[in-house]
Amino acid sequence: MHFIGDLFILFGAVFIFLGAVGLIRMPDVYNRIQVGTKGVTLGAIGILFGLFLIHPLWWSKLLVILGFTLLTSPVSSSAISRAFYRSGIKVWHKKEDDIKDSEGEVKVSDNKEKDS
Amino acid sequence: MIWVVAVVVFIMLAAALAVLFLPNMIAAVVASAVVSLSLTVIFAIVKAPDVAMTEAAIGAGLSSLILAIGLKRLGYWKTDSIDKVKAGERHD
């Protein structure tokens, strides 16, 4: 049982690491928020579940931490992104797209872009 | 365990230097939050969970809150660079 818990902890750590790598590689603030929030949240869930498998008697506090993480992490990232959006930070677009303006409405280009 | 302490101390020192050298006020507040974060982890590593809990409450919650309210009162809340905000001049 200890070994399975260790495997879950390793799973969570790998996803935290992937989230951090995405924090480096993504080109835009909003993409970075997405990758960071998702990766780190699933990593935290994996680590908490692995700790539950190792020490089953701690389930109540682990459940409280899990609930708070699931409730607060998307709320805080969404609040931050809303603050950025309202203070006028533009969304990044790829060079060959001709999507110029995005004031809350869908404008998707029709042209055939070069797919690499 | 000594390597964990080394990494956390490195993060703390780098964030503390960043507080000094960052040009924007909001970035400095954020970096000071990282300083108190690593201080919490260090207190937990040296087996003082009560001190770590106090540091978490003061450093992560109260000091960020008070510094943020102070930034709002002073008018330094803009996420752009500080050279737009000259001293004594509010911007619209």
Binding site: I16, A20, I47, H55, F68 | A14, A18, A31, A57, A60
Partner: protein
């Protein structure tokens, strides 16, 4: 502290260093705020793992308090950034 846990701690430490890189050399200031938001969650995960290493349930309380209060701090910061034109116009009317 088994071998797998040491590897997991190493991965988390590396991701914390990557977050530190974003915090210091981030090209714009919103990147720094995002990096701090990720670092807060990573720190509470590290506190949970310390509870495993020391075999004591007390450290979970520290992780819980840290998770809750870092959320409060980030929300306060977001509200301050968001308070834009209406606040400055109000203050100008007052002065």
């Amino acid at each position: 502290m088994t071998f797998i846990e040491i590897i997991a701690m190493l991965l988390i430490g590396m991701s914390a260093l990557i977050g530190l890189y974003r915090l210091i050399f981030g090209p714009t200031n919103p990147d720094r705020i995002v990096a701090t938001d990720a670092l807060n969650l990573i720190a509470s995960v590290v506190l949970v793992l310390l509870a495993l290493f020391f075999d004591s349930v007390l450290y979970l309380d520290v992780a819980l308090v840290y998770a809750v209060l870092s959320f409060v701090g980030m929300i306060a910061l977001a509200r301050v950034i968001e308070s834009k034109a209406d606040d400055s116009s109000k203050e100008q009317e007052e002065s």
